[in-house]
Amino acid sequence: MGYTIPIGPYHPSLEEPIHAKLYTEGELIKDAEVFIGYNHRGIEKLATEKNFIQTLALVERVCGICSHSHPFTYAMAIENIAQMEVPKRGQYIRVIMAELERLHSHYLWIGLACHLIGYDSLFMYVWDAREKVMDILEEISGNRVNYGMIIIGGSRRDINDEMRKKVLRMLDDLTEPHNRMKEIFLNDKTAALRTKNVGVLPKDVAERMGTIGPHARASGINVDVRKDAPYSCYDEFDFNIPVLNEGDVWARVVVRVLEIEESVKIIRQALENLPEGPINLGNKLPKVPAGEFTARHEAPRGQVSYYVVTDGGQTNYRISIHVPTFKTAPTVPYMLKNNTVADAGLIIASIDPCFSCLDR
């Protein structure tokens, strides 16, 4: 005897709205469907009425967690159309912010995963570590989210020597809690029992569905825009791309834990070699000729791409935003099959969903 169980759009284990229909037999999920679009705000349409500086503020509000990735990618597209050369120091500050954002985003999701498997003491511990990163982000930019650090042609705020030392000290403070949570995830039985062999996405299926980001890297696909198509100043840093082959929820947690270590490496290198010079090209409204460009950036969840078309006027003719959740959400029905209903919330959350990005 089968039942259809609806999950969402509003559900305690989901921080954002998505609707999933589970077709079950007993405890087992036999088939599933996902429905999106509960957060659609028409940002792409609205952006065609705004000038280039207004659009920066607008696209920053596509998503609260990766709110640096969106203006970063958009600015790269406009700078490429207008043939602007961003000063080195500005690029370094952009990369430092992008990697700090990756730290806080990954800690956020690792914490949520702990909460969903019922390991609430670890959840508190991870979010305590995350709070250190949030404090630094607030000190640098003045805000915990929506940093406003990007302007066309560089960064808005500088990182002075005192701030540089503060960030380095924060990274030192992070080492101990980070190693402890890594130890727990690699060796602890409680965490392993709830996450190993749950929601498995094999490599061939992940390839067929075109998955990207940490979600793909947990399924054995080595894909990362920072290495595949270096942009800004990423080619000047030495870092690795962690790839795991298990493809289950455990691998998705561990791949993020390992990525945090690589991000810390990048931030350290960037802070130690921070070049002298201007951070931007001034804050005037840029003259952008007619053209088109697709810029890509590795956001915490995977590749963000902005396709921007300009017509030589003051506003965008069209911006089309493509976000990583657009490539990871279609894999959810596959992962839900043959798992128990009790794990459904964890599996849906395991793509590190960002539905406000997805719905735009």
């Binding site: 999106i36 028409g42 075109g210 270096p230 890509r296 078309v309 493509h322 657009f326």
Partner: protein, 129 residues
């Protein structure tokens, strides 16, 4: 540095091109669309070839063949989105219903990119009354 190349192609080249790209192992990044100033639909198939985005552009077609049998869901979702935003029909695409827009908007027609903003505002107001 990232590069961008744009090519113009015809409607009947879409499926062979997608097959060729898939066989070479290139990723379909996204299918973007917009309406140009003459009112033609412009659809861009963007593939990731190393550090370059190769964008294949089709202008002025309202019915296109689907490539969802080649690229699976990474093509099916963008095609559904383009249908909702611009009203481009994809032959051979299995529609699951609405992706982004509410069923009530514009009497179930959607296509918000091609509808003027003031008209959309009126429609939404009417819905809320």
């Amino acid at each position: 540095m990232q590069e961008f190349k744009s090519f113009d192609i015809k409607k009947d080249e879409i499926v062979p091109l997608a097959q060729k790209m898939k066989d070479k192992g290139y990723r379909l990044v996204m299918i973007h669309g917009y309406v140009d100033k003459e009112g033609n639909n412009v659809v861009n198939y963007q593939y990731e070839v190393g550090n370059c985005i190769e964008s294949y552009k089709i202008v002025g077609e309202n019915v296109l063949p689907s490539i969802s049998h080649i690229y699976d869901l990474s093509a099916a979702w963008p095609e559904e989105e383009l249908f909702e935003l611009m009203g481009v029909q994809f032959e051979g695409l299995e529609m699951r219903g609405r992706l982004f827009l509410p069923d009530t908007m514009l009497e179930g027609q959607g296509h918000i990119i091609v509808t003027p903003l003031d008209e959309l505002r009126k429609k939404t107001l009417r819905e809320g009354e």
